[in-house]
Point group: D2
Chain length 387, copies 4
Amino acid sequence: MKAIKDSVHDHVPVCDLAADLLDTPELQRLRHIKQLSTVRLVYPSANHTRFEHSLGVYHLAREACSLLGVEGDRALAVRAAALLHDVGHGPYGHQTEGIIERRLGRHHDEVGDLLTSGRLAAVLERHGLDPAEVAALVEGRGRLGQLVAGELDVDRMDYLVRDAHHTGVPYGTIDHSRLLAALQFRDDDLVLSAGNVQTAEGTLVARTLMNATVYRHHVSRIAGAMLERAGERLLDATDLLPEEFARMTDDRLLGALRDCEATADAARRLERRDLHKRAVWAKLDAVPRAVVTADRDDVRAFERDIASVADVPPESVLVDTPGEPSMPESSTRVVVDGEVRRLADESPLVEGLRAAGRSQWRLGVYAPEESLPEVEAAAERVLGLAT
Amino acid sequence: MKAIKDSVHDHVPVCDLAADLLDTPELQRLRHIKQLSTVRLVYPSANHTRFEHSLGVYHLAREACSLLGVEGDRALAVRAAALLHDVGHGPYGHQTEGIIERRLGRHHDEVGDLLTSGRLAAVLERHGLDPAEVAALVEGRGRLGQLVAGELDVDRMDYLVRDAHHTGVPYGTIDHSRLLAALQFRDDDLVLSAGNVQTAEGTLVARTLMNATVYRHHVSRIAGAMLERAGERLLDATDLLPEEFARMTDDRLLGALRDCEATADAARRLERRDLHKRAVWAKLDAVPRAVVTADRDDVRAFERDIASVADVPPESVLVDTPGEPSMPESSTRVVVDGEVRRLADESPLVEGLRAAGRSQWRLGVYAPEESLPEVEAAAERVLGLAT
Amino acid sequence: MKAIKDSVHDHVPVCDLAADLLDTPELQRLRHIKQLSTVRLVYPSANHTRFEHSLGVYHLAREACSLLGVEGDRALAVRAAALLHDVGHGPYGHQTEGIIERRLGRHHDEVGDLLTSGRLAAVLERHGLDPAEVAALVEGRGRLGQLVAGELDVDRMDYLVRDAHHTGVPYGTIDHSRLLAALQFRDDDLVLSAGNVQTAEGTLVARTLMNATVYRHHVSRIAGAMLERAGERLLDATDLLPEEFARMTDDRLLGALRDCEATADAARRLERRDLHKRAVWAKLDAVPRAVVTADRDDVRAFERDIASVADVPPESVLVDTPGEPSMPESSTRVVVDGEVRRLADESPLVEGLRAAGRSQWRLGVYAPEESLPEVEAAAERVLGLAT
Amino acid sequence: MKAIKDSVHDHVPVCDLAADLLDTPELQRLRHIKQLSTVRLVYPSANHTRFEHSLGVYHLAREACSLLGVEGDRALAVRAAALLHDVGHGPYGHQTEGIIERRLGRHHDEVGDLLTSGRLAAVLERHGLDPAEVAALVEGRGRLGQLVAGELDVDRMDYLVRDAHHTGVPYGTIDHSRLLAALQFRDDDLVLSAGNVQTAEGTLVARTLMNATVYRHHVSRIAGAMLERAGERLLDATDLLPEEFARMTDDRLLGALRDCEATADAARRLERRDLHKRAVWAKLDAVPRAVVTADRDDVRAFERDIASVADVPPESVLVDTPGEPSMPESSTRVVVDGEVRRLADESPLVEGLRAAGRSQWRLGVYAPEESLPEVEAAAERVLGLAT
């Protein structure tokens, strides 16, 4: 069997199906999409891509199937779904997710269109698989779908460890080999076997600490907000189709932003790391509920109002709301004393992590350095922030 | 400068004072005391010693002094204290702590006697240091003592990372380089600089998860309890002086246990990992408060009573109470918004970790496999456990 | 002091000068140039950039100066040179070196122009440094220049370890901390102190094994040759100035190749990893000396002749000659028995490594898969290869 | 399946047979024998044991069988042999090998007696295995025996990586996952598949560099020589049977040395790292051939003569000859151009490594610090060393 060397999992054996899928332009494209998009502006080593991550998820899926006794075509389908789980991502991954959802009405894991026609479908069918079934697994549907997208999926196991390896921040280093070995099915639910409350807690803790120090670092959030606004303006100012936008790579989007007058300044700033700064960085309890739950149109209205009050150009104010704090992993199920229980009911740590998540929550308002004082004052008034 | 290769910190430069101290029998003795004593019976790679740990603590102390601008003789004294901080440990470290405290009335960090006379004093004085001052630092006294023994000491930074490296359990992998860089003095308090709430949380989390999976693993606790009882019996049955006992190495103690009739069986069992098993493993809320807070004499009385009710030899029942759950690191001080605050007041995670610590707490009653049912029934009755 | 997290060196403290230099567009540009250019097509995790490498080299330079007792402005200049040592690189680093040398007549480490005017000069002068002196250090001139560019430079120490970390191939994992500690000046020569023959051998071995498995992997060489030819064609077919070309990033070059008709196909192939294959892969002793030492024009003539004989389009044949095998590190000087000696004179391993390098040498002729047989036959005839 | 956490291979699944074998006193004994015996006196982190190493070898054997398609009882036998391959070692491993061979006439891998009667035989038979067949595998006999003891055995793959991990010396970090994947049988020979000349070279290089920096470090050799002589004296001075000696652990031997008058001083010196020093450290070409090839009795005669000439007590002179340099791995077979070839015939590096091995070779003569000058002069005369 062919093998590919990976910096995290070392030697990844690659089956024929995977080798064929890896050769498609759809998967090769993921070489050009960074796993952590703008985080590299804070952690300069974090240049890993969704390609190597996909390979890692494939590898863990193979191990999980083997440990769970899932074999034959069902295992093949799970491996294919693991390898393909990110092909629906737009350029800069999560940073353009909102744009794509608003303009195309689909989430990045809705890959039915991509998988059921064209080259990927042809490869899957040649290996005896039903593309629609693989697409369903990517969306987390069905019993085995839980392995690909769920609280205990192999996606998370790979990205936490990989992000830790590449940023140099150790918090993500979960015990993924133990996690894999602890997976079991109880009826149709994927759960952790007895004795693994701490294994589950460890994963939750890793997510919470990585959120605070890596995924939601303010510099990455500022760059992400700048990129997202520039993406919107690009679509508004040119005849680029949303479908084309969604299929770009990081580089192609940056190139397009450079070439468009309305976004050239943003492109230059992103390329040179000459970013906006924080005018506001407010905690959850200082922010009115209506602002926390604001939708896209509300946010835009806030930005316009703040710019108007501050008397600065409208495009120079960015309001960045992470939405309500949540923690999906808290519903992980663990076997305790022979029964399946929700981790949140079993571990008092979950409540602490939830509270930590809320205390780490921040609303950001960003602006060029020279207009920070005006924007800060205006934002506090317009948004009604407690001070 | 001489250097020693370390599996955790790689290249550890060694100053002349340290080189001279390392050559003393007192420090060489630490080569023969395992850092995690009986944990190696669960994690077979955990054979690291207090010698290499001491070297690591010395290394971090050197870096901390350098980052904090502590120089000259004061830095030299801190480095000496770091290197010497474990010379007061008895064989098998924490497992014989209770014996030594009861028989000699001193804690392992009370190293005044050891440091202020004999070879160690001679070396310290030759390098211009006052042995009494170094002993005070080992006990955590004074401003700089906080670096050696306190919530933010370099001891903890070394052992968490080292224990993770050697057990293979990743949870202890704290961000010790960031922690070091974040240290600062505010007045006379050692605190973490602004922006380091997560750094402090990360350390607490590491401790909590390492407690559950490594430090308090039941197999290690059973072996530890067997060892401790055997140590007591050895002192009772022979004319070995407590002072001699306290200066033994792991091997010498095991040899002495083998050679004494009253303890030969325990020695054989420890050597072959043929251990007692859990008759009881009870949660905090199932255990009467009087049992949780029981002192040594109470525990012995419980053991005798259980053995009598179960009709088994008295030495075959071991009651193991970890005492009240505590979490000293929660008082770590962090700068937030320009003020020094206690981590417990700032981080909602601390409360969750405290609760997790309580939920991990277990009372153990151990016995040979063949008498488990009788001992279980007897222990529930004698100790008044909720079932 | 500010610090940046690095996946290899962990916590890299950053002085004010470095912080100011890092903010310049010249250094930010290195975020967009991959350290190993086309190697990522073989080792998908190898996405690290010259930015993080430069930071690593800066870090090691700081440590080397500190260990060697180099202080004040001289140390500052060395650190600046270390951080800036790669700003002269064109897009895709070594892959476009030839183009830039031929068209601009300068090597990538000739950074005089870049450093002595404009923003970099301004920053250096503001910190009291002479830009011309820093440029001389980058070129390896002078006593301290040996630390930046020489057989024992910190550049090599960083890249071997970093490339190993990111490819997952362990051979590059040299003992860089020991190497650093072993550096010393003898008169004006940078040498390794006594007892370090193996330390030097280890570095040579690492280079030799990394060459064979990573740096000169055939897939990377094929992609590199395709990229180099496309770069030439781009400059021939458009009015892009060589100066502009030399200042591009990886992405900008790939974008330009996509936008130019003469290179669009190459761009698509590189992006999708749909590469040429080997028609010839010949050992040193099968290749006539005239071919081994062929210059650029000769190679082009070979390509045209082969294409003509094979009756395929001229641009579809690539001849790739690595030039004469060499091993600059063999002149590393080591103190043995109190005298400075050349490693090659001291270590019999050097001759073996030199021979291994020669046996790993390959001449490549590449072509699209469909024309491999014709090209192979034509190449053997035109080049006069022994078969 | 049960699993054990290992610091090198992380999660090691353990089959029922292995679990039963691990519970025997014969395997538990290996917890008390250090893998690198006296090397820990140079590299203080090198406290790993033959127990964890055996577990690692078992793990790699399982993977190798799976990759090679070896299944059923044959795979079970290989795994058993891998786990048991070190049970024949005496205390301090290789350091007492000579004593055991001379007194008992058997090599440490002759484990027939140990395996074919008693507890180990019972466990093996209970799992349907023939103990004699497992013993043959441990000795490297038969086709599958090559996996357990041969140039490409899993023993070497584990110890190089493990020793690197625990000493902190990176040279041993071979690419063991690639090595495993490259194994194949050609007729009845275990060889490396095509494209793996560098994989084989990497292993040889690792051995050569680890020899020089770790395995044959002079401090370890001095301590080893002291231990070996003390072992001989112990057997001569007491009624300890060689059979008993061979079954001791490190601790028990050290205890016995302490308790015997003739060896108490050596024990104290070893425990406190208060070792002899080098009076002579001579290269191969300075040593007469008769000394290089001297047997045990010759060496003893040399020691007595040197002591007599130097007028020091006979037991204070130790002559330490490593025997003729050799490199068994050079006969590793690799597939090149479809044919099986010996690595030494294919790789010019082998000759360089052989020469490096010869240039690293040293004859040592050791003595207490105070008598070094006399012993040096006497040794040069008695041994006829070139100076």
